[in-house]
């Protein structure tokens, strides 16, 4: 009797509850909705679409749909493919080397060494610095005549003449990659460290009882346990590195002779130096496709090996 009496109202409340919750949620979303739609969602879509037009800079310039014209032109633009090749070398080298260096540091910070606090703080500093300042700082460090790096190399007799790291065809890209590693290490280290601290200690104890050495503990416990964190942070690093701009813009501006012309810098010049908005957007489209394909394969392989 009581059951039949109380059941209907409960059902009712359930039916009303959903729409009411949704209405409340929408109200809470409202202040964000308009700016996000106008300044993020719309530009994203418009940006993709721009790649299929011949839009140019200027206030009253007509632009029209040109289909795949821009992409056809890009296909024969060797400079663009050069910058793409440089972008891929940059992205992979920075991401991989940064990961290895950060993993090493995270492992060290996860032990009971002294100076851990100091090391942790120092490790985080590059993160807080404006990329422009990082670039200026490294220009001072790598300066051919009064930079300390050249000074040290000469003292150690590793070179007999000062090297113009950022101005030399053969050293510019490696030098820029080193700076890229320096900048990105904190984020990667902190993330990996957080992952390390989440690993169950008893796993190591059990392994030690079974006679596993440090190396096999690392190989059979640490790495597999960290897999999700590793996949997440390397994917993000790859995206960030591929899309990075300010650092290299101030370090070399793409020079010398285009040796460090990352795709973003190339597209930026196309858009804001030459005013070819449509063409620059097409380059952006190609970049998106590449990133998505790359992530797709990377994540699929990772996830498959996990299963």
């Amino acid at each position: 009797m009581t059951a039949t009496l109380t059941a209907p109202p409960q059902l009712n409340r359930k039916k009303q509850g959903k729409p009411k919750q949704n209405r409340e949620a929408i109200l809470l979303f409202l202040p964000a909705l308009l700016p996000v739609l106008i300044l993020s969602v719309y530009p994203l879509i418009r940006g993709i679409a721009l790649g299929f037009t011949n839009a140019r800079a200027g206030l009253h310039v007509e632009s029209k749909f040109v289909g795949f014209d821009n992409f056809a032109k890009l296909l024969h633009n060797n400079l663009f493919w050069d910058s793409f090749r440089i972008g891929v070398i940059w992205t992979l080298s920075v991401t991989i080397l940064q990961f290895v260096a950060a993993l090493g540091l995270a492992l060290l910070l996860n032990t009971d060494l002294k100076f851990r606090g100091v090391a942790r703080t120092l490790a985080l500093i590059p993160w807080a610095m404006p990329p422009v300042v990082v670039a200026i700082m490294w220009r001072l460090l790598l300066h051919p005549t009064n930079g300390p790096v050249n000074e040290i190399l000469q003292k150690l007799h590793l070179t007999d003449h000062p090297i113009n790291f950022l101005g030399d065809f053969s050293t510019a890209l490696p030098a820029v990659i080193v700076v890229g590693i320096w900048v990105g290490m904190p984020m990667t280290t902190v993330t990996l460290l957080a992952g390390l601290q989440g690993i169950d200690r008893t796993l190591y104890e059990a392994a030690a009882v079974d006679g596993a050495g440090a190396w096999s503990q690392f190989w059979y416990i640490t790495l597999p346990q960290l897999r999700t964190v590793i996949v997440a942070i390397t994917s993000l690093d790859m995206i960030w590195n591929f899309n990075s701009f300010g650092l290299v813009y101030v370090l070399t501006a793409g020079g010398p002779g285009g040796k460090t012309m990352l795709p973003m810098l190339f597209a930026y010049n196309e858009a804001f130096r030459y005013g070819n908005f449509g063409m620059a957007a097409a380059m952006g489209d190609v970049m998106v496709v590449i990133i998505i394909l790359f992530l797709f394969f990377y994540l699929r392989n990772r996830l498959r090996s996990e299963a």
Partner: protein, 277 residues
């Protein structure tokens, strides 16, 4: 853990190597900012300045563009941080508490906005803001920063909201408090650490931002600090390294102060975002 002495020594050597790699560049920048022009010109640079001089700082600060850049950066960063907090708080509350259809949409947007190269976004942004007369203005840059630091702010705050026990809110609603009242007087005070952390991240990312500012601000009067610094470098021939180093140190100070303040919470904050978000 029993660690052999040789391993221990190797570990310290490795830590030291990391510290040098990460710390030396900064040390050099600071030391450069304290060197006299004569010492700068010397062919054998020393790590620490022989005579500490602050003339580079006064030189940098008398530079007109630099002070203005500092002021512009400060204004833009503060305004966009306030806006982000106002907008992000209700949204992250809704994301953490309601299972509405907006949730997967928002998370999808957060992801997409990370993957897209900014060049694709900045051109349409430029085309949208220009007819509204918002290019080349501080409000224009502020709203752009607001929207573009929102994903990370939402991602962070969501985790903090989810950590606030639901029971507290239920108790308040039993006592007859409205949803708004509950958010303002129960959830917000508990969220203070999360709000502070989010505010700092937003401030630093606005303070450090370069690309959007480069495209949207052409007027020399409005240029932010990173733009002013980057222009100094561009004129390599006559560039004065001392004042440039001093200005660079000054540009890093706010981030470092915030950082020192935040350092403790950082690891746990990131983790809570990662687990709950």
């Amino acid at each position: 853990m029993r660690t052999r002495p040789t391993t221990r020594v190797l570990q310290y050597v490795a830590v030291l190597a990391y510290l040098v790699f990460l710390g030396f560049p900064l040390l050099w920048l600071i030391s450069s900012s304290l060197k006299s022009p004569q010492e700068f010109a010397s062919i054998t640079p020393s790590i620490l300045p022989k005579h500490v001089e602050f003339s580079n700082y006064s030189d940098a600060l008398t530079e007109q563009g630099l002070i203005r850049g500092l002021g512009n950066s400060l204004q833009i960063s503060i305004y966009s941080t306030i806006l982000v907090l106002i907008v992000a708080l209700p949204v992250s509350y809704a994301l953490a508490r309601f299972r509405s259809r907006l949730r997967p949409l928002t998370n999808g947007w957060i992801l997409v906005s990370q993957v897209f190269p900014v060049i694709l976004i900045v051109i349409p942004l430029f085309m949208i803001l220009r007819p509204l007369h918002l290019t080349n203005t501080i409000p224009g840059v502020v709203i752009v920063y607001m929207v573009w630091s929102l994903p990370f702010a939402l991602w962070m705050l969501q985790g903090y909201v989810a950590a606030v026990p639901r029971e507290l809110e239920e108790a308040a609603s039993v006592d007859g408090a409205s949803r708004l009242r509950t958010i303002v007087s129960i959830v917000m005070p508990l969220l203070r650490p999360g709000l502070i952390a989010t505010a700092m991240f937003t401030f630093i990312s606005a303070w450090n931002e370069f690309f959007f500012a480069l495209v949207l601000l052409q007027d020399p009067q409005l240029k932010t600090l990173p733009l002013v610094l980057a222009r100094f470098v561009g004129a390599e021939g006559q560039v004065q390294f001392g004042p440039l180093a001093a200005a660079s140190v000054l540009a890093t100070v706010p981030s470092l102060v915030f950082f020192a303040f935040l350092q403790r919470r950082l690891t746990s904050g990131l983790l809570s975002g990662a687990v709950k978000g």
